[in-house]
Symmetry: C2
Subunit: 597 residues, 2 copies
């Protein structure tokens, strides 16, 4: 997979082509007195929900018809236009939250941060609202780097910027966030994936359109192999990325029971999309979209090619050259044509050559029936209907049957140009981190007559007198700190031994903390548990004599005694997932707690 | 070292406090006809240089006085104001480049990209021009994360944005670039560094102020230990980071002979800076500043504390509590004071408490000489002279000797508040990459009767018929791809063996390419040399029989034969710098070239 780093400040033309300048909007209303701004859809949803709740509680007396109407509206808020939202807000007399003031009409607000590029102040730019566009506009170079072969994928990790009307919920809705996007380019006719077999057996919770429309409305586990063969997921490549996303989410600490893949309903999808699935994670804010996986067909490259007039197609070589007959228009006598059209002759020749099958057919018919035909020689700004309506006398010439011919021409062709399809997995990194934090957090009850011991004297391990200890069970792979080193006592010799161990751990590439504070080791364990450090090493009196230390695992709170020289490789193997805690326990003697001398 | 990731879109207040809103400008002139913008200093420098060159060539006839004037101006262009630049451009009749049109007067142009935060459109924001400010405004939290201890450092790597008037020279002057900054916070009175010993013996090329002002004007090697003891570098911490920067530059492939540390001349430094050194690398554009290392004293935290009214000081505990006697002003009778000042009484009490030693002294004197004193009870917007001039009748009250007392008070104090100094190494990542590319690039002449062999038949290794081969000698640590796998022939069995090796290399964390094209292996070697892949593995006929492959090193072009099972660990050790090529050559049999069957 190729990786790119593209600029965040993006010229307007790029985001005009992608549709963001015209359509990347939310609908907003403002408080008529304070000017405070609110999302129109959020206000309407809250108002409708409250009305229905009040009705349930007997505080509102809706007729069955009114109730049904409110329920239907609530289910379709996302589909309303600015006017539709404005009308609904008026109908239900929705006021501004907190102030109770009246609201403006609903209007579209573009979520892109606008700026000006260069010193003249005449070039509009926007901060990118997603990282994907940088990959599309660099498609030609990426294809070249891949040796002009399909399929291939390019990824980008970087900041995206959305001027949210109401940022909220911590990392879940922010104006600046880390996005990770992959654009997988492939033939529109072959969306198989060579590595699909590696994930085909996974059974993520799939919340298909059918299940969403059904009575139960719950996601069900289904193997990806089955999902593809039953056409629940549209193709192998999309299913492959769903599988990889599933594995990734589990690896970073997401609970599989609280992870589902929800298929977009037909009306949720853009017209060009073949299929879309959101990876949703359940947390205290409900089901949160953390990644989106879509088959976007050839939409993006087609849009950029049209706007930039750059060829963003791929030349697909046939296995065997094919014999193709097509209509070819050409000048009967180039010199005569030159005299007839003078300085426009070149444009006329180019226009003849550029005619597609349908164009050549219509010119041929006109020549046969009228002896002449109109030819569009202007810039090829648009095609189809738009081109026809844009044609004026100024950019159209008349050619006659004496000047040109349109005849079938048979040739061997070695391949054809296609615009690749793109399959896009897109990740909101902050949202995934937030959900991983929630799913990794737990509270350990301290048992009054047991728990972790603090030294040989069986003192109870206490957390500042609290009977509860909060822990992050971060997987070693994602824990920001992998190991903490504790000198048991505040003594020079133990400190320097601890620093020596720290250096060897750092040299092994392990992020290491040393806690030399003089608090009890129990409190210090509590402190690293709280920040999710998976392993702890304690240097005690015996360490100074026999060069061994205790190694503690965070969640089991079990300890083993390990020679100092072996510590870096043991911890590294644990962190890299090449060894598990059980195997380490099998190799080294258990120890109840560090020997405090 | 702590690491943070702060937003790029920054509220105006932050960059007002840091001085960027008012002073982060370049001087610009515009073409009176086309409106094109140019850097005023660049145009003046080019014009003066051309004038002097012309004079050298006899094409201009300057008097000795005129010549001296032009030379002096050229040396001091950087110090000119907008008006000074405008006058000089007029004096030397400088015209717009290319068009020859007249120029506007020179004016300041702020280099920050401006935008608007939030939907109301009333909150000005800028894209950060440097990553440092995010660390300063988060200083309190960072100090807390470090256990409220000094010294500590925080780093940030991310995009910075500067709306350059004329971007140029590839990665050297761009509008959006990756910056890596460290802010090392320490006591203003103790700038020693515990790890200084690890770099004290290094002898980078230092281009001190003295050498720059001297006759020779060349940088000389000097040990960092000597530089600190001779006060060439102001303190150990700054010298430590110079040493680490030197090591880093070498590690990424910068030629030590083309790397120097240039000290800022006194007039180049901001008034608050204690000492500044630029890491400069020589490339085809001359000496390029790739990193800046500065002791910025307490400037940044002081500026943010003043503007934000947040306490950004550090409480430094004394080893032993000290006995301190100071003047304390207080109400003789709080109740009487309350009656006298009514609702202002609270502000009066607060003002008494807030008096510093000098303030208390002056109140004491006034009470003794006049029986009354003026007391400023307004908001503490400024101190010193500004406070005195801001005092009006409205925020000043009169207190009498009957109401208050000012007496010496002796107490034990355990420490004091200080604003930490900051030492800042700041790296322009793109510039370093550009210079590393230049320093890593070389052309290998193919010897006509030797060179690298392509197979047992002694065919010459050719690069598309070219006698020269371009190579990037990227250090394995920074090479984007670490190893390429080549199946010698386009056969199913060799391809699948190559894919198997690729998987084992990828599993070892090594970025791997497979080149299955059917070109000669010599051409394929040339291709990986060209993109700087340090190692190549060739699967040949023997590989299918005895499970060994050849391993080739890019720069020596030497090959050894290694069992496939050992390949990942051997290459990994080479890439991690744990083994060198010589040791690998000592362990495995040499091979002239892959055996082509």
């Amino acid at each position: 997979m190729l990786e790119v780093e593209c600029p965040a400040v993006t010229p307007e033309a790029v985001l005009k082509a992608s549709g963001h300048v015209d359509r990347f909007t939310d609908f907003m209303v403002s408080d008529s007195t304070t000017g405070d701004c609110h999302r129109a859809d959020h206000l309407l949803e809250e108002a409708l929900q409250k009305l229905l709740d009040d009705d349930d509680a007997g505080a509102a007396a809706l007729t069955p018809h009114q109730r049904e109407e409110a329920r239907e509206l609530l289910a379709t808020v996302e589909e309303l236009t600015a006017d539709g939202l404005g009308d609904a807000l008026e109908k239900y007399a929705v006021k501004a939250p907190e102030t109770g003031n009246s609201l403006s009409r609903s209007y579209a607000f573009n979520l892109m941060f606008k700026t000006s590029i260069g010193p003249r102040g005449d070039q509009v730019g926007y901060l990118r609202p997603e990282t994907a566009q940088g990959i599309f506009v660099n498609f030609r170079d990426l294809l070249y780097y891949n040796g002009n072969r399909l399929p291939f994928a390019a990824a980008q990790i970087g900041q995206s910027y959305r001027n949210e009307i109401s940022p909220k919920a911590g990392l879940l809705r922010v104006r600046e966030f880390t996005q990770a996007e992959i654009e997988h380019f492939c033939s529109p006719e072959d969306k198989s994936h060579p590595k699909f077999g590696t994930v085909a057996g996974l059974t993520p919770l799939l919340f298909s359109r059918e299940l969403q429309m059904g009575a139960e409305k719950v996601a069900k586990p289904m193997s990806l192999k089955e999902a593809v063969s039953q056409k629940v997921i549209v193709n192998e490549t999309l299913a492959y990325f769903i599988g990889r996303t599933h594995l990734f989410m589990l690896a970073v600490g997401i609970d599989p029971a609280r992870l589902r893949f929800r298929q977009h309903l037909v009306h949720e999808m853009a017209h060009y999309a073949e299929d879309c699935w959101d990876a949703e994670v359940h947390c205290s804010y409900g089901w949160i979209e953390c990644a989106g996986l879509a088959d976007r067909s050839a939409f993006d490259l087609t849009a950029h090619a049209a706007k930039s007039k750059q060829d963003l197609s791929f030349f697909e070589k046939f296995d065997e050259p094919k014999t193709v007959t097509r209509l070819v228009a050409k000048a009967k006598d180039r010199k005569a044509l030159g005299i007839a059209f003078k300085k426009e002759a070149k444009a006329v020749l180019a226009a003849l050559e550029a005619l597609d099958e349908a164009g050549a057919e219509s010119v041929k018919k006109a020549l046969e029936s009228e002896g002449k035909a109109k030819l569009f020689i202007g810039e090829k700004e648009a095609c189809g209907e738009a081109a026809a309506s844009a044609a004026t006398d100024e950019n159209t010439v008349e050619v006659t049957a004496e000047q040109i011919s349109v005849e079938p021409f048979t040739q061997k062709v070695s391949g054809r140009s296609i615009v690749p399809s793109v399959i896009e997995p897109s990740f909101g990194v902050g949202r995934i981190i937030y959900c991983a934090f929630e799913h990794s957090f737990y509270v350990r009850e301290e048992e009054s007559k047991g728990g972790e011991k603090d030294g040989g004297e069986n003192k109870k391990e206490k957390t500042s007198g609290d009977a509860q200890r909060t822990v992050f069970r971060f997987a070693p792979a994602v824990a920001p700190v992998k190991v903490t080193v504790f000198p048991l006592l505040n003594r020079e010799a133990m400190d320097s031994k601890a620093r020596e161990i720290e250096r060897s751990l750092t040299a092994a590439g392990l992020a290491t903390l040393v806690d030399t504070t003089s608090t009890t080791v129990g409190k210090r364990y509590a402190r690293t548990d709280e920040i999710g450090v998976p392993f702890g090493i304690t240097v005690d009196g015996a360490s100074l004599e026999d060069n061994t230390v205790t190694l503690r695992e965070r969640d089991s709170m079990k300890q083993v005694r390990v020679p100092i020289a072996e510590v870096p490789s043991v911890v590294k193997a644990l962190v890299d997932g090449k060894r598990d805690w059980g195997s380490v326990q099998g190799s080294y003697p258990a120890q109840a707690a560090p020997a405090e001398k």
